[in-house]
Amino acid sequence: MLVKKIIAYLAVLTGITALVLATSKSLSEQIEDRRSYEANHDLWWGQQRGKWGDLTTMSYLDQVKKFREQKDYDFKDLSGEGNKNIDLYLYGDSYVAEMPKGTFACLDSFIFHFRYDTHEYTLDPAKRNIMIIEVSERFMRERFRTAGMISNFRINGHDDALHPLAAKRPKKPTTTSLNFTDLLFNPHINQNLEYHLFNYNFLILPRQVKAALNYKLFNRASGDVVISDNGDYLFYKMTVAQNNICSSYAQLAENETKTIVASLDTIYDYYKQAGFAEIYLSVVPNPVSILQPGPYNNLIPLVQNDSGLKMPFIDLYTLFKQSKEPASLYRAGDTQWNNKGAQAWLQLVNNILRDQSKKGQRNINSE
C-alpha cells in the first residue's frame, strides 16, 4: 500500500515537473542548449541527431538509403573579383546562413541578418548598399502579411517618423515581455513534452521501429514528414497540408497576394529612403512547389508577377521550374537545397552584384 502511495506521488510530481518544464520557454531552451552540446550527442541521454538531413532525422528514416544525402556545399571563392564597392545586407534564413562573404562577388562588406534577429545597422554612404531579402516560400505568407521586418532590421539615423511601424519599434528588443497566459500556456507544449520525455538516444529504437514499419508496410513517413508521390523525396508535412499557411497546396485567401505585395512595397520604400541603392526579393521555392507541384497555389509567381510590386526579384522559381533536372536541386531527406540549388541562387545573386558594382562605379566616375 505504501509503495503504491509513493509511486502515485512520484508520478504526480514527475507529471507536474514535465508540464512546468514544457510550458516554460526559457527552461526548455536551457535544457535543450545543454543537451545539444556536441560532447553529449552520443551519451545515452543525448538527443537524437542525424547527418542525412533534417527530414530523415525528424522521421527516423536514416536507414533508408534513397533519402541519404549529406550536405555538400562547395562555395567558390570570389573574394578577388570586382571593385569591392558593395556592402551587401542579406536578410535571410537557414538556406543562406552558411554562405561565407567570399562566395559573393564585388563585396566590401557582408552582413547576414538572420530573420529572427533584431539589429541596427549604420550604412556607409561611400558604398553601394544592397539588400537582399531571402525568404523560404513556406514562411512567406506569414512573414509578409505585414511590413514587420522594419522593426527588426533597423537603420541607424533613419527617421523613424517615415514609417509608423518603425516608430513603434521597441528600444530594447532583447527583453521579452510575458503576460500571465504566456506563463501558463505554451503553444509548443506538446513538442517540448515529447522532447523532454522521449527524445533520448536510449529511446530511439522504438521510434525507428515504428518509422521502419510505416515505411515498409505503407510507404509512409511518420509525424511531420511525408514521402513524395514518387517515393523519392521527403517533404515537410506543413508544406503539403491543405490548411497550413506554410503549404504550397493551401489556397490563398482573397486579396492575400495584394496584401503581401503591399507589405513588400512598404518595406521597399522604407529601405530605399533609408539609403539602400536597391532591395531585392528572393523567394526560395518549397521543394514540393518544384518537385510535385500538383495543386500548387502559385504563391511565388502570383507575387512576382503582380504589377504593383516595386521590389525587383531574384527569380529562382522560374529557373528551378525550367531546370531539366529539378530533382537534383534539393536534398532528398532535407527541407533545403543542395549545393547545386545553392549555386544556382548564387549565380543569380552574383550577376546582380556585378551589375550593381558597375553602376556604383559609373556613379563615382560621373561625379
Binding site: 502511495k5 502515485a8 506521488y9 508520478a11 504526480v12 507529471g15 507536474i16 514535465a18 508540464l19 514544457a22 497566459t181 501558463l184 500556456f185 507544449i189 506538446n190 513534452l193 515529447e194 520525455l197 522504438p206 521501429v209 515504428k210 514499419l213 508496410l217 505503407f218 510507404n219 509512409r220 511518420s222 509525424g223 508521390d229 508535412k237 491543405q242 497546396y249 500538383g294 495543386p295
Partner: protein
Amino acid sequence: MTFNSLQFLVFFMVVTLWFFRMKQQKGRILLLLLASCYFYMSFIPEYILILGGTVIVDYFAGFLIERNEGSARKGWLVVSLIANIGVLAVFKYYNFFIDNIHSGALLFGKSVTLPMLKIALPIGLSFHTFQAMSYTIEVYRKNQKAEKNFLVYALYVMFYPQLVAGPIERPQNVLPQLHEFRAYNWDNVKEGLARMLWGFFKKAVIADRLAMIVERAYGHAHETSSLALFIAAMFYSFQIYCDFSGYSDIAIGAAKMMNIRLVENFNQPYLAHTISNFWSRWHTSLSSWFRDYLYIPLGGNRKGAFRHKLNVLIVFLVSGLWHGANWTFIVWGLLHGVLVVLLTWERRQEGEKRAGLNLAFRIALNFVLVTFLWIFFRSENLAAATGYIKDIFAFRGGSYYLGVSRAELAFSVFIIGVLLAREKYLPTHYIKENTLFYCYTLIMVMACYYLGVFSENQFIYFQF
C-alpha cells in the same frame, strides 16, 4: 489540449492520481474544477471569461427560477436562455448572419456593409451552452433542484472530459454524482482505462488514418475517379464516427476512472436500418436534448400529421445549424429531416419482423444514404459538396490514388472490419481478469503507438 496529445496524457495522469489522494469530496471538486479551467484555457485562455460568465448567470438563474412561480419563474428561465443563446448567437452565428445579409443585398443589386466580428469561435461552445441550458430548463420543470454549491454547479458545466465535445449531460445524472464521495474502485479504473484506450485506438489508428485518404480525395476531387471519390466518402463516414465516438469513449472512460458515469453517446449507428433509427444511435445525447427541449415542446407528434412533419423538419434544421454556421450544415440537417419525413414507410414497417438479407440490404442502403449526406457535412461549401456528388455520379475514370499506398488502403478496410466486429460482438470494456486486462492494455498501447497516425488533427466535433 486535445485528448490525443502528450499534454493531455500527462495532465490526465496527474489529475487522476491526485484525485484519489484526496480524502474529501470538497477537495476533489476544487481539483477537478481547477483542472477543467486549465484544460479549457489551454485552447484560448481568454474565453474562460465567457464560459465563467454563463456559469454565473445560470447558477443564479437556477436559484431564481426555483424561488419564483408563474411569470417570474418563466422570466428567469428566459433570462438564462437568452444569455446562453446570446453567447451562441454572437460568437457562432453573427458573422454568418451578416455575411448572408451582404449576399442577399447583392442579389437585389444593393451593397450593404455591416461590421463583421474578428473573433475565434470558443471551443465546444455549443456543447457547454446546451448542457447549461438543460440545467435551467430542468429546474424550471421541477425535475431538478437548484444546485446550492457554486463549485459543484460550475463543475457540472465544466467537467473537463466532456466539456468541449460532450456527451451533453443532464443535471439529474451528473449533479448527484458530484456530491457523493466514492472511494477508489479498481474495477472502474480498469473499465475506464480500457475504454479510453479503445477511444485512442479509434482516433489515432482509424480516424486519423482515414483522414489522410479523405483529405486527399476532397482536395483533389476533380482529378480523382468517381469510384475513388465514393470510397473516400464512405471512409469519411467511418472517420467521423471514429473521431467523435473515439472522443466520447475517452471522455466516458476518463470519467469512469474517477467514478463518474456519463451517458452513452453512440450505439453502432451504421447498423441502423432507417434514418430515424440512425438518429437513435448517433450522438444520442444531442438527439435526446432536441427531443426533450425542442421537439416535444413544439408539439411532437401530438398535433396532427402535418405539424408532426413540420416539427421534425424544424428539429433537424436547428440540429444542422447547431453543428455550424454554414449552409453545408443547414442543408445536411434539413436533408436528414426530409428523409425522416419522406421515408415514413420505413416507420410503418418498424414493428414488422426484419431479418436476413432484407435487413442487411436496408442497413447497407441506409449507410449509403448517410454517407452521401456526410458529403455536405465535410465540404467547405455547398458548391464543393454538390461538385463532389456530381463527380461521383459522373461515373468517370481518372486517378485512383487516394494519398496512401494500396497496402494502407487495404489495412484501412481491415481495421474498419475490426472496429465493426469489436463493437458488435465485444461491446463491453470491462475485463475482470487482471492478467487479461494488463495484456489488453499492453496490446492497445502498442497498437496505438505503432499503428497510430499522429498528427495535429483536432477532434472534428471540437469546432462545434
